[in-house]
């Protein structure tokens, strides 16, 4: 774990610390009801619906994400968690709905615009850019690069200095995520867990206000899981909002400030982790699928 002063050297680009901490404290007064409004929402979504042909994958009435918190998005397989991420970040086109991020309507924005606005997501199946080095992965993610435009690209004078700044920031973040000695390796040479770390570090190069992690712990060995969890809480403590999808209830109970449970595309419950852990609708949703799975098993009725 990096020392606090070392961390402060990398401004992350989240919300103002005092504002974020106040917002997190405010969560205590919010009633645990699906669709409940929050006092200081960073994301506010109205009536999101996404259908694939006849299959309604997501259908949430009202959903808000409180600034400066760690909301966990849970739900059985196929509940629509990934689809909700995809819709919110512009990767899937919505069927219906409007949502605002930081007060701006982004419901029609292209994915790259959503990212530029500060809402950055990662993927359930990690997307490391395998034939690029770890450092190049990081540098790529910096926004507002002058050298990314065609003509300035030909004139290194216009982008050298900026590139140096980005490299410094990238190295500092790699240091923080324990990947500094891998900087010159190809990303494809990293282990599964290291790729998850890289994806998280890379997302931070965009300077997001909110980072959305789709199953960041999936397939990661237990030792690394602990470090990933610490990174997530650290990010929140530095003003970021960190939404994450997770199946492991112990993890969810351990680090989340708020839990939203999806089932068949709908928000069936939301509230503080202690409350959601005992929620009958949530237990039923999980048990329900388990029974379905048993029915489908080799010895089952079908």
């Amino acid at each position: 774990m990096p020392a606090p002063d070392e961390r402060a050297a990398i401004p992350l680009g989240g919300d103002d610390l005092a504002v974020a901490q106040r917002a997190r404290a405010q969560l205590a007064e919010v009633a645990p009801e699906p669709g409940v409004p929050k006092p200081d929402p960073l994301l506010r979504a109205e009536g999101i619906r996404k259908a694939f042909g006849g299959l309604v994958a997501v259908d949430t009435r009202h959903l808000e994400v409180q600034r400066g918190t760690i909301p966990a998005l849970i739900g059985p397989n196929g509940a629509g968690k990934t689809t909700l991420f995809n819709v919110l970040t512009g990767f899937d086109r919505r069927s219906e709905g409007r949502w605002e991020f930081g007060g701006q309507d982004v419901s029609q924005a292209a994915p790259h615009r959503v990212a530029q606005r500060g809402m950055v997501r990662t993927f359930q199946l990690t997307k490391a850019l395998t034939r690029m080095t770890v450092l190049e992965n990081m540098r790529l993610a910096a926004t507002g690069q002058r050298g990314e435009r065609f003509l300035p690209a030909l004139l290194p004078r216009t982008w050298r200095a900026q590139e140096r700044e980005h490299t410094e920031r990238a190295l500092a973040l790699l240091e923080r995520f324990g990947l500094a000695d891998k900087a010159d390796d190809f990303a494809g040479e990293l282990s599964g867990g290291q790729r998850k770390l890289l994806e998280m570090a890379r997302a931070l190069m965009v300077r997001p206000r909110m980072i959305m992690l789709d199953e960041p712990m999936a397939g990661v060995n237990p030792a690394l899981t602990q470090s990933l969890l610490e990174h997530i809480t650290d990010l929140r403590d530095e003003g970021l909002t960190v939404v994450f999808v997770e199946h492991d209830m112990d993890v969810v109970m351990g680090i989340s400030d708020w839990v939203v449970c999806l089932a068949e595309g709908q928000v069936i419950a939301e509230g503080p982790p202690e409350v959601i852990g005992d929620d009958q609708a949530v237990i039923d949703a999980y048990l329900g699928t388990r029974q379905d799975l048993d029915d489908l098993g080799p010895g089952g009725a079908r």
């Binding site: 970040t89 990767f91 292209a110 994915p111 790259h112 615009r113 990212a115 530029q116 950055v120 997501r121 990662t122 993927f123 997307k127 490391a128 850019l129 395998t130 034939r131 690029m132 190049e136 540098r139 790529l140 993610a141 926004t143 690069q145 002058r146 050298g147 990314e148 435009r149 065609f150 690209a153 030909l154 290194p156 982008w159 590139e163 190809f186 494809g188 040479e189 890379r202 997302a203 190069m205 965009v206």
Partner: protein, 331 residues
């Protein structure tokens, strides 16, 4: 067997105008496929509009060669944009399907009688290149020594200009690909969704890559029209694209000099094999091939080149300039 003849013929071809044309076409393709991962299977279409842009401007409209060259490049850019708009937002295979058919459609349209007032149909347009040679500062003579024979002053001029163009294009590719712009292209090749999630406008970059690589394909066409002193539709068949791919994969996709080295080797091999086979046939060493008649030599040569390529793919799948470590990581 006369080794000197084989080597000098191989050299002559490797540095010659056709190899130059292919090197340029493959440099463009390298930007598409090697750096951005765009599966353009119709590079011939860009070469063709480049060549015909020049030919029609000069022949029908009486324009100068310079204007004609600019028209050729402009048409290549236009074609790239037209192809990009409907396909680049879709899955990768749509670009492949569209480009492969556009090449053939253009060829057939060009040779049709309806287009004849513009293109002179299947006969094509002749009589190009005069003003190009008028600029030739090289005194008349026959140039070269030992196995390094270049030919007449006209050919030397053509080769000089061709290699200057190649050098210029390689410089451009090198400068671009070391920049953050090039990094975005490589990221798109690796995973375009990831690039998007990091705030990159993938469509815009794919468009830029398609236009740039297409324009360099157009340049190959302009150069081809001048070196052949004319154009005919049936030269622009899909094989051109496939040879360009062979050259690119041979040299190493995603490497600045990959297409150039690929073109050199491909032509040296292709023409060298021809001389070897002809000599062997004259010595009576190839009874089976001779029995099939003289065309069999061409077929045997293709098979031989195919064999060499196969061996290369087995032992150096990353191409001659490629990086084995990188290759093993897969796409």
């Amino acid at each position: 067997m006369d080794l000197i003849e084989v080597l000098s013929f191989a050299f002559r071809s490797a540095v010659g105008p056709l190899a130059i044309t292919f090197a340029l076409a493959a440099i463009g393709l390298n930007i598409h496929y090697g750096y951005t991962g765009l599966l353009n299977i119709g590079q011939v279409a860009f070469v063709m509009v480049g060549a015909y842009g020049l030919a029609i401007t000069v022949d029908v409209f009486g324009g100068s060669h310079l204007v004609g060259a600019l028209v050729g490049l402009g048409l290549a850019v236009l074609l790239a944009v037209l192809l990009a708009v409907p396909t680049l937002r879709l899955r990768a295979d749509y670009l492949a399907i569209t480009t492969i058919s556009v090449g053939e459609v253009l060829r057939l349209a060009t040779r049709s009688s309806q287009a004849a007032p513009l293109t002179r149909g299947a006969d094509g347009i002749a009589g190009l290149g005069g003003p190009f040679y008028a600029l030739n500062p090289i005194p008349p003579g026959d140039y070269g020594f030992w196995i390094f024979q270049l030919g007449s002053e006209r050919r030397v001029w053509l080769i000089l200009v061709g290699w200057a163009l190649i050098a210029l294009m390689c410089l451009l590719v090198w400068a671009l690909m070391r920049s953050p712009w090039g990094r975005v292209l490589r990221a798109i090749r690796e995973d375009e969704e990831a690039a998007r999630s990091l705030g990159k406008n993938v469509f815009s970059y794919k468009m830029q890559a398609l236009v740039l690589g297409g324009a360099i394909g157009g340049l190959a066409g302009v150069y081809y029209a001048i070196q052949a002193a004319g154009v005919a539709p049936d030269t622009f068949d899909p094989r051109i694209t496939f040879y360009a791919y062979v050259i690119l994969i041979l040299g190493g996709p995603g490497r600045v000099l990959g297409p150039v080295l690929g073109a050199l080797i491909f032509y040296a091999l292709f023409q060298g094999a021809d001389v070897v086979l002809r000599q062997a046939s004259a010595q009576g060493w190839l009874p089976l091939v001779d029995w099939f008649g003289s065309q069999a030599i061409g077929a045997t040569r293709l098979a031989l080149v195919g064999l060499v390529l196969m061996l290369l793919m087995i032992f150096r799948p990353q191409g001659i300039l490629g990086d084995r470590r990188e290759m093993s990581l897969g796409a």
